[in-house]
Symmetry: D2
Subunit: 295 residues, 4 copies
Amino acid sequence: MVDDRRYVITFSCPDRTGIVARIAGFLAETGAWIVEAAYHADAQEGWFHTRQAVRADSVPFSVDELRSRFAEIAAEFGPEAVWRVTDTGEPKHAVLLVTREPHCLHDLLGRVTAGELPVVLDAVIGNHPDLGRLVEAHGVPFHHVPFPGAKDPRKEQGKVEAFEKVRQIVEGFAPDAIVLARFMQILPAHLCEEWAGRAINIHHSFLPSFAGARPYHQAHTRGVKLIGATCHYATADLDAGPIIEQDVIRVDHGDTVPDMVRRGRDIERLVLARGLRWHLEDRVLVHGNKTVVFR
Amino acid sequence: MVDDRRYVITFSCPDRTGIVARIAGFLAETGAWIVEAAYHADAQEGWFHTRQAVRADSVPFSVDELRSRFAEIAAEFGPEAVWRVTDTGEPKHAVLLVTREPHCLHDLLGRVTAGELPVVLDAVIGNHPDLGRLVEAHGVPFHHVPFPGAKDPRKEQGKVEAFEKVRQIVEGFAPDAIVLARFMQILPAHLCEEWAGRAINIHHSFLPSFAGARPYHQAHTRGVKLIGATCHYATADLDAGPIIEQDVIRVDHGDTVPDMVRRGRDIERLVLARGLRWHLEDRVLVHGNKTVVFR
Amino acid sequence: MVDDRRYVITFSCPDRTGIVARIAGFLAETGAWIVEAAYHADAQEGWFHTRQAVRADSVPFSVDELRSRFAEIAAEFGPEAVWRVTDTGEPKHAVLLVTREPHCLHDLLGRVTAGELPVVLDAVIGNHPDLGRLVEAHGVPFHHVPFPGAKDPRKEQGKVEAFEKVRQIVEGFAPDAIVLARFMQILPAHLCEEWAGRAINIHHSFLPSFAGARPYHQAHTRGVKLIGATCHYATADLDAGPIIEQDVIRVDHGDTVPDMVRRGRDIERLVLARGLRWHLEDRVLVHGNKTVVFR
Amino acid sequence: MVDDRRYVITFSCPDRTGIVARIAGFLAETGAWIVEAAYHADAQEGWFHTRQAVRADSVPFSVDELRSRFAEIAAEFGPEAVWRVTDTGEPKHAVLLVTREPHCLHDLLGRVTAGELPVVLDAVIGNHPDLGRLVEAHGVPFHHVPFPGAKDPRKEQGKVEAFEKVRQIVEGFAPDAIVLARFMQILPAHLCEEWAGRAINIHHSFLPSFAGARPYHQAHTRGVKLIGATCHYATADLDAGPIIEQDVIRVDHGDTVPDMVRRGRDIERLVLARGLRWHLEDRVLVHGNKTVVFR
């Protein structure tokens, strides 16, 4: 539907007066009809962030023209200003990385098939072949890239080679999101760097509690009364990247580790799906190690 | 602290392009430093709503001057436009109406005493004297206005007279909020009218379920798995006014009606305190029978 | 795994002293190792309910023998006593009824495939063919039973015939659960009767609010701040059967009806999956129009 | 009301078959009417835990007699068995420790005054005099025990002396609970020992995240999307004792540290009130560093 097409502008710069007026004035001059507008002034950091969505059919020129005109506005706010103009008429693309755990993959495939998530899945890459059949049943190409086992004498070198293959497949698509849908392999620093702001991980704990391996075991040992999941951008610092979304569910003394694993899946699915949606809709602005999420 | 003082502008009008630009442009011209800005375009109703908070010390004239200048802007958007400019340096005032149930009253008194809620309590009016001592211990005047009992032959006339006394006390203060903190008497239509947009009720159910009397009994009979509370503006249509805030908590088969009553208090307290805060901070804009809440 | 196999006893009867002792004594005599035991005494109804799970390998005879021995115990508590002994080694069976909405179906198929839900799906019946391909990709038989359209002159008779076909397919499997996974057709009274305690519906509102058609539209019109979903046993009284599970999520003024529809799916999926699991694990005991859920 | 009086039995021992039967058989013989019964078999630890509440008027002898008879039963399960028999007709007692932060104190005083929490407050001890007036307005004795300031040269010795005064006041009451209601002083190891299982702390984070000082600052720095509170038994290991209850609320990028502090109070109040209630109702059984909470 033409009516649903939006141009989305995100913009961040050091705070000062007049930013809203400048941007709003520019949009008013073009006749752009604003359907969503959100602002955040971070007094502590001294930064300003905004996201604006306008009806595409209210803008009398192309999105490229909008980009080049907005670039001039942005330039007025100095070299630190960060901005982006996207067109919801141009679908976003994603590649998923998985291992054997199917629940997040199932959930994302189901959402994409049902038209709930605005994204084209270019490929799913698995370090095990197990999930290939299901992926292909949804019409999505599956790539099996084997990783060396724990006892492989060439383990380190094998990993380097496997990640290089993964990198090549991913880069062939230049996706907007690389989703580690319970991938369970630690991304090497150079890929975190290369995919900065695009690599999205789901960690099965309420970070910063229980970072690293086997978080449900850690949670069970500590006797917490809620378990959680965290969707965050992957960075070289393991499980410490900017958090996009988190949520929790209640557990009690009767829940064993397998119960927690099973029940935690419900929250992992939801948190990843929400975080990914916000990323794809350009609702997430990263500043330092934190996010502004204009839901 | 001077730095924390804000002028808060709320504005609603039929939607069209250029509204944000006009308001933002006006604020930019005055040099106003925007610390919070929220917008909502309701496509179905065709209405636009905004709330802006600016640093008082960034505006080079008085709040009255700001009001008269903003009035001109507002006038450009037609006679339907609704707006308000308030100054957080001028404290809001409230009157509480209570009966015997102390939990919401305790909670509000505690929050005001602790400086959590930005309001001056001018008076508490009770139709029973029970809570007077505690109210006065917090330095707040208590007015006992007896209401006729269920078997009083002059019940109807007595109610009319009692509500007239309540009205007189309330109007002596011209408060920003009249809070029915579990008052348990149905406000007559003319007072709902007179106090429109200022009379805030807490109903002990997740409306529209279980409106009217004894909602926890109704909930127990139906066997629901969550109970809730609703903070809304009182209107002549019982328990059907615009909803400001709602929340729920989980119950199970083991919870008796008294358990629900006790556990429900936790959610009544929270929902009323949140709704009242948003009202006092001019975060709630009413349109028709619904609210826009800029949290 | 033999170790995970359980015999599950559920038992309800008018309350009196000594019930726990009698059942526990019986289990102790047989040497049964109790791994889960839950009790509920409903003082208002004067009824007692219990669920006990024992390790199958701790019982020195067959489940049939356990059933016949327990029948004698149960008989001591009068003709009103209701009980059941099931064996988790004998998988439960379910048939799903769907229309075009895929989200609950996707979710359940994903959970079954991943081994999360202890059930065999005997068949999916759809009144539209749309979801057939996906169902069959999961190795589950799909039956298309067309229903008459809204303008069909033989609408009433056509419905009767279609439901008769559905009934025949369902009864061929004698399933433990008939799941209306957003089926959107009102089950006729005689099927509610025939499938009493087995037909599980997911309604897309927090009942009793917004029963009937288009609950998200109703919720949007009323301006509620939370939307919900309810999993309940279907009865002849539409959307009024015993509630198994409910949950809610927060919405705000920015959520349109389509937003609510999309966001509500997350809670529909979860609530149906939880309710169905508890039903399959014999955790749900129905008494009158209410449930005891031993989670 | 005589009818509401209960004898509550809690019992823990190494798991084996027949425990439920033995206890239930004993209760049946005495004619005890069980109104609540909960069991937990911890397969990993190999321990069994139960809590039973019986109607006092159904037991044909005194609670002391019940204790001495139950002692014999308990002895059959070996020297490791831990048990307790309490009488809800004998009110529990508590002492509160506070500093200047009033919110948890207000909340607990309000609940006790309203009859919501089944406890007698013997005293409130404050290391600042600020909250004394309010405490005494509720008819509860207030003791001011000054603690040395951060720059006091005799700081260490002064603390030892102050804690000794606190200890003496507390021990004069031999309370069932010593509640650190945002006391903000680290309890010395010998008091943790002496008050083991009775000293209840509220920590203003979702432990184990953000233990120690200034948890809201830590949370803000990390950019988490939920903040929480934890009620736990105080042990010599700071913020690492057995967790009784936890809960969280959502925050977003717009929440400053003061916003988090304010909003966190709502969850601190609730979590402490719930944890304390369960402790007072003998619903919390500690095993190792974890709790079984029979809600």
